[in-house]
Subunit: 352 residues, 2 copies
């Protein structure tokens, strides 16, 4: 049984030691459900797949959401957890079992918060969107996502991060004419043609956009390239895969329009995309949260589920003790001090 | 039993109908061996694996070699053979059972040639060099390859082709620094870096070299490119595979020196290479052959086993009825008239 009243750092270590790679979260979901039923009986619980929604049922007029995914990327010889100095190591330490530890700490420790709280523990965030636990909850029980403000406990180094950038992946294709490489002048080399695409990318100056006082820095980058038929054949096709990270002042349609114009003359195929989220820090619910946490908000560069809440018209921010630079690395770890400080900050927000 | 005294076109059709994809030549080698023993008893025979060497044993001072491989590329729904108008279709029709038919036609039909003849029927030409039947003969019985001049009956459209270009395959690598694509400025994109390599290739003007009156046209071409870690990662490596086809005035060492200088600043790895062969058309044995065949010699662009004979210091040319453009295609075929004309030309050379 997980001890939700233990020190949140110890709780984080216990969570790390229950392996929960995406698609394999049943055991951890069972443990969290059992612990909440035994130690946080004031919450009403709904389980959907391996996701859990636990809600307070008081009379406060405002409801906030604290959400975190319980899955991790695959283990990379980084289990069980261990401490080195002031850091706790192990898969998920940063992304984001330290955040989940804070959720559980608050769920059990504050039976009468100053605002109603919906705790969401969800599965399959690290993999394809259609398996994401939040996607499933939104489809099957959208009522459970109702709220005035949401905090995702994704790693932010203990800083409030507002909004997130959108992301679009495209394929830009060059075509040529196949020929034997011994008679190359009979062909047209599609890989050579891709040089022009790469030159466009290299000379591109990425936008920097200021929104609600936060600077979003875009990126337009090749993430893959492939071409080639055989060692003695002039290739007739080359595909450059490109990832565009766009500031939240652009919609997905804006992003597509920009890319088609930028790669004018080349066939462009949209592979996938997700919209950004405006920071929304000027909304009252966000302002109160920022005041309680302190510090200067920062922009979120990566794409997170914050955008899902934005689409439901719920202002949302990221705030978690993990370090985003260490997420998904073999040496994933978290500063124990940021877990402790995060617990204090969130307690203050939900109690005073 | 193959009828070596039949019309060489009919003999070619019979050879095509015995499937002999590289590595699977035993049945055809057995048939050729049996036919030569029964119908060309004047030849002494040596079998090595599925390759056969059949030699005349007269008193002429000059010895010439007529060589052809008996394997084909994989069947592509193009068996059995069939005629359409003046063409014979089927796998190997061009490359090079029409040439093998001429060898067998001459082996049986000219018991007392004006120069000693060594007929070589060898296996595994279409695959890796170490399995090539000629390689094995050179290793196990180099004495069998002795001669003053060699003709390879590879497809040349009935024209004498002298020498062949060398080929060298290299990998040029660009390096970068991995980073999450949401924070691309923390990384360095190795695929973008490959743009410079592709631009070098695009702007390169290939050499044209005149040797023995033949113009060799070089080629420097990307044949493959690959790079990419994941859809959200700035890649730290990109590999461009490049094939350099070089005129036979350059050695492999010359070719390597040129490439390292051309791609100065990038790591270059030699993957494989094969030397070219000078046409050697000014040597007396070659001049007599060209005079007997007639027509204007042409350069050979592709790499062929001619280079092996050149390395043994035996002048060698390609001359065969097949069409090199149709080799390895689904619609592989040969003009029957070129088979008949080739038989006459070679008969003239070996008899008058």
């Amino acid at each position: 049984m997980l001890d939700l009243f233990s020190d949140p750092v110890a709780l984080c270590a216990a969570l790390i030691d229950v392996e929960s790679v995406s698609g394999d979260e049943a055991r951890l979901a069972d443990l969290i459900e059992a612990a909440l039923r035994a130690q946080a009986g004031h919450l009403s619980m709904v389980r959907i797949g391996n996701s859990l929604v636990a809600r307070t049922n008081g009379t406060n007029s405002e409801r906030v959401i604290l959400a975190g995914h319980i899955d991790t990327v695959p283990v990379a010889d980084n289990l069980p957890s261990h401490f080195e100095g002031d850091r706790l190591f192990g898969v998920g330490a940063s992304d984001m079992k330290s955040g989940v530890a804070l959720q559980l700490h608050l769920a059990a420790g504050i039976p009468h918060p100053n605002r109603e709280v919906t705790f969401i523990f969800y599965e399959c965030e690290e993999i394809e969107a259609e398996r994401n636990g939040l996607t499933r909850i939104a489809r099957e029980r959208p009522d459970l996502l109702a709220g005035d403000f949401a905090v995702l406990l994704e790693p932010t180094n203990g800083v409030v991060e507002g909004g997130c950038q959108g992301t679009m992946r495209i394929e830009v294709r060059t075509r040529g004419v196949r020929a034997h490489s011994a008679r190359s002048w009979l062909g047209e080399n599609a890989i050579h043609g891709a040089g022009e695409v790469l030159d466009l990318l290299t000379s591109h100056e990425a936008r920097r956009v200021l929104i609600d006082g936060l600077e979003y820095r875009e990126g337009l980058q090749a993430v893959a390239i492939s071409g080639g038929v055989a060692g003695n054949v002039i290739p007739d096709e080359c595909v450059v895969s490109i990832n565009y990270r766009f500031a939240p002042d652009r919609s997905e349609a804006d992003a597509e329009r920009f890319l088609r114009k930028f790669f004018d003359g080349f066939p462009v195929r949209i592979v996938d995309s997700a919209p950004g989220a405006l920071p929304g820090l000027s909304r009252p619910a966000a302002e109160e949260f920022i005041a309680a946490i302190g510090g200067v908000p920062a922009p979120k560069y990566g794409w997170t589920d914050v955008a899902r809440f934005t689409q439901l018209n719920i202002p949302a921010v990221n705030f978690g003790p993990g370090n985003p630079s260490l997420a998904h690395t073999v040496d994933e770890s978290v500063e124990t001090e940021l877990i402790e400080r995060g617990a204090q900050q969130l307690r203050k927000w939900l109690t005073r």
